[in-house]
Amino acid sequence: MATNFTVQRSTTGNIVVLALNGFLDAHTAPEFEKVVQQEFDGGNVRLIADCGELTYISSAGLGVFMSFIEDIREAGGDLKICNLAPKVAQVFEILGFDSIFEMVPAVADAVKGFENPAKEV
């Protein structure tokens, strides 16, 4: 059950959408970390995490988001989170991630956010 986690990559223009599916916990976080690292190394700093199929996130999973956000922003990009299930959203909120990350309902909203950077949180 611990390995039930996949990431699907797609692009919209120069924006990379990472669709997360399953359990993001201490066992699967390194996998996700590798994916984000690859994007960052490849110069893709406009990232959207589509959490529509993300059923669980542990603190280790949250750690991955946390560890990249500054570097990505310094490189002029952003990592936006969208489509959170209510239970997962609650975890993000309790931790105060809502004041760091831009969390929007849908991928389209996140794309819009990239196209209209004035609307910064």
Partner: protein
């Protein structure tokens, strides 16, 4: 891998060639010159008895060779002295026992001449007879035969004195000047039979004093060695505690090995039993022999147990080096691992046996006994030689490698600098090695420098082997050296029968080598396979036990970091507990006396679980204590913790924390939440439950500015009967078998049901509901709870 075999092969070749050349030249056994084998000596002894009218034909005969080191010392200290040369290097004691009645003993020189005898006293009623008086010529002939000197060399002390036992003749040779070695001869004839002949070789005190066996070096070595041995056993026991020690003792390894050791000693005692009889039939009595026969194996078995228990505990310092040794106690004792170590070490046997000879040759110092003289005339020399490979000397080497090497590593690894470690560790190892081998073998007499050098060479070889072929290999080298020495000691004797025994031992040694060689290639090779079910279990269990023991220490250390007791505040009760999901956890609670006199109550949760979380938990605890001394403002306190955590954790970890600051008199609580679960506020009077949320990011995530911007403090006013419940997500996310979480609703209900209970009872009641929900299962996450209850007074029933 190949290099060590190359070295081993080279060592074997060089060692064997060296032994072939040097053994007949320098080994002390060459001085014996045993001209006959066991049967021939017995036959000669029977001949002397028969010549004096005692037929021992149907009597059982025993023979044992004894090296007379004192006599050898005399010869070496008085080179060229004719008198000293007459002192025998060794003697062969024979004993003949009839079915009933008294037996006969005959002592022979290695060249077959008699040294003396004692036959049954002829039971003639009369005293000395004319027959005995007329035997002077026979007696003189015998005297010359016993000493190899002519009668004119002797001083007559009593030439024919009649007594109850017969006619006695006494002479002395070499006794003219005091301080010279001398021989006293006594021959008694009765009824025409010379039934007793004695030769007493006496070495003056002035010479024997030069060759003390118990030298200051040896005594010092024994004392220091014993202390080190004691520490080597005590330190692991003290560090690991009684449990692991008991388990190590229970481990099949020591039991199996000590059983074998006891059995071996018992067997070798039994084999020597015949020879013991020779000595026992004297006067000392059989009882002593039987006692020592039972006590010695018991004592050695006990020693083995203690030493090996310590070794098992210390094995974790060098698990790979002790692997083969430990495998001996398992079903996988016949495996490539054990065979490889035994073969590799065994190849070094000739070299190890040749080291003292090398020193003897280079330093021109004679060697003294370095072989087992019980073997020389043994009826079954080959099996006895194989058995004697497992000697008490091995116990000393096991103690050195198993207990003192770890002691050296442990002691030196405590040093601060790498440089100190680099020299201290080998220095300590060498010190222990020299002490061990100086104690076990001091082959030179009156030359302590040479003995230290010999011990250093043996020690260095043993340490090398320990690192190359493991503990088992180092022990195999000792055993192999012993086997080669046994073979050599027999091969250098002139008697053809003894030489063939020597060849038999060589053949047995090579046979063993070939078995090991084949085993090292053909034996069940995969270690995992070898370990099998039981082996693998044993391995993992002991590894697991080691870790659990470590974790127990960590767990209690961590639990001690939490406040032992909540503060006692008038009008309030406070209770808290923390139960890590694993041995150590990342949760923490704390009660802090702030600089402004208020009381802080905090619960924190480090992201992740286990050891990494535990490390950050202790860090957070420290940061919190430090920050609480500088400020009474919870926002400032958390801000400071956030700042430092962010620097340290490199954004890989974060900590969530809820903190309430209580002003007991005013009954107000200032509350902040840094990414932590909301606190439950139960308002008893209103019958209402509120969740204290409020904005705030977890600690270590955001920079100081953003953190401060988002963190909001709220102050609430408490009423009598109110309760505040701080907790970690391990409580609300505790999951039962149906994958249901305990959740906020059940928590709120549990808190409501605890209305009217003081803090401790409230906490217990909530935890009870959680464990009832889990149905005996255990929470997957650390479970922490802290309860503050405002209570005006407590009734006798515990209710407010």
């Amino acid at each position: 891998m190949n290099r060590r075999w190359f070295t081993a092969g080279l060592a074997f070749l060089a060692g064997t060639l060296w032994l072939l050349w040097a053994f007949p030249r320098f080994h002390p056994s060459t001085r014996l010159g045993l001209r006959y084998d066991r049967q021939q000596y017995l036959a000669r002894a029977r001949g002397f008895a028969a010549a004096n009218g005692i037929s021992t034909k149907d009597w059982k005969g025993y023979a044992v060779a004894e090296t007379l080191i004192r006599n050898q010392e005399l010869q070496i200290s008085m080179p060229g002295s004719r008198m000293a040369k007459a002192f025998p290097d060794a003697q062969i004691k024979t004993n003949f026992l009839p079915a009933s009645g008294s037996g006969a003993t005959v002592t022979l020189r290695p060249d077959g001449r008699p040294l003396g005898w004692k036959l049954p006293v002829p039971d003639a009623a009369s005293k000395a007879t004319p027959k005995d008086e007329g035997r002077k010529a026979d007696v003189h002939k015998l005297m010359e035969n016993m000493t190899g000197d002519s009668v004119s060399d002797f001083t007559l002390m009593a030439d024919g004195v009649a007594g109850d036992d017969g006619m006695g003749y006494k002479w002395r040779e070499g006794g003219a000047a005091i301080g010279n070695p001398r021989v006293d001869l006594e021959i008694i004839s009765k009824n025409g039979i010379i039934w007793e002949a004695k030769s007493d070789y006496q070495i003056p005190e002035s010479i024997s004093r030069q060759f003390k066996a118990n030298t200051p070096l040896k005594i010092t070595a024994v004392v220091i060695w014993s202390i080190a041995l004691f520490l080597g056993i005590l330190i692991p026991v003290a560090r690991e505690g009684g449990g692991p020690t008991a388990r190590a003792l229970k481990d099949r390894v020591p039991m199996w090995l000590s059983g074998c050791a006891a059995l071996t000693v018992l067997l070798s005692t039994l084999i020597e039993w015949d020879d013991e009889m020779v000595r026992a039939t004297g006067a000392s009595g059989l009882a002593n022999e039987i006692i020592s026969m039972i006590l010695v194996p018991v004592f050695i078995g006990l020693m083995f147990n203690i030493v090996i228990a310590g070794t098992v505990l210390s094995a974790r310092m060098h698990p790979l080096k002790v692997r083969g040794f430990r495998l001996l106690g398992t079903r996988a004792f016949f495996s490539t691992t054990t065979a490889t170590e035994l073969l590799g070490g065994g190849l070094f046997g000739p070299l190890l046996a040749g080291l003292p000879l090398l020193l003897s040759a280079v330093l021109h110092l004679p060697l003294f006994q370095g072989y087992d003289d019980g073997l020389l005339l043994n009826e079954a020399a080959v099996p006895a030689a194989l058995l004697s490979m497992i000697s008490q000397q091995l116990l000393g080497v096991i103690a050195f490698l198993g207990l003192m090497m770890p002691l050296a590593i442990r002691f030196s690894s405590g040093r601060k600098t790498q440089k100190a470690k680099a020299w201290l560790q080998p220095a300590l190892m060498m010190l222990f090695a020299v002490l061990t081998f100086a104690m076990l073998q001091s082959p030179f007499r009156g030359a302590e420098g040479a003995n230290v050098l010999a011990a250093a060479l043996s020690g260095l070889t043993t340490i090398y082997l320990y690192f190359r072929f493991g503990m088992l290999g180092a022990l195999a080298a000792q055993a192999s050296a012993k086997l080669f020495t046994s073979a050599g000691a027999l091969l250098v004797q002139p008697a053809a029968g003894l030489q063939s025994s020597g060849w038999g031992i060589v053949a047995a040694g090579f046979g063993l080598g070939i078995v090991l060689l084949v085993a090292s290639i053909k034996a069940p090779e995969a270690v995992a396979e070898l370990y099998g079910e039981s082996g693998a279990k044993m391995q993992t269990r002991s590894r697991r036990e080691e870790l659990l023991a470590e974790f127990n220490v960590a767990r209690s250390a961590q639990q001690q970091m939490l406040p032992a007791k909540p503060p006692v505040l008038a009008g309030y009760t406070i209770a808290a507990s923390c139960d890590p999901a694993k041995e150590v956890g990342g949760d923490l609670y704390d009660f802090l006396r702030l600089s402004d006199g208020r009381w802080g109550i905090g619960v924190a949760d480090v992201s992740g679980k286990g050891v990494p979380a535990a490390l950050y938990m202790t860090l957070t605890k420290g940061l919190l204590c430090a920050a609480a001394q500088d400020s009474g403002d919870p926002r400032q306190i958390l801000g400071s913790v956030n700042k430092h955590l962010r620097t340290v954790t490199k954004k890989k970890m974060f900590v969530t924390m809820a903190m309430g600051v209580l002003e007991p008199e005013a009954r107000t609580l200032e509350y902040v939440r840094a990414g932590h679960n909301p606190v439950v506020w139960r308002r008893h009077a209103l019958g209402e439950t509120r969740w204290l949320g409020g904005p705030g990011i977890g600690l270590g995530i955001a920079g100081p500015a953003l953190f401060a911007k988002t963190l909001a403090a709220e102050t609430i006013e408490l009423e009598p009967g109110d309760a505040l419940v701080f907790y970690s997500d391990g409580l609300t996310e505790a999951m039962n078998e149906e994958l249901e979480q305990f959740g906020e609703d059940r928590l709120a209900a549990a808190v409501e049901r605890a209305d009217g209970l003081h803090a401790e009872a409230t906490r217990d009641s909530i935890l009870k509901e959680v464990s009832a929900f889990l149905k005996g299962g255990h929470s997957q996450d650390d479970l922490t709870i802290a309860v503050l209850r405002v209570n005006p007074e407590i009734g006798s029933d515990g209710r407010i």
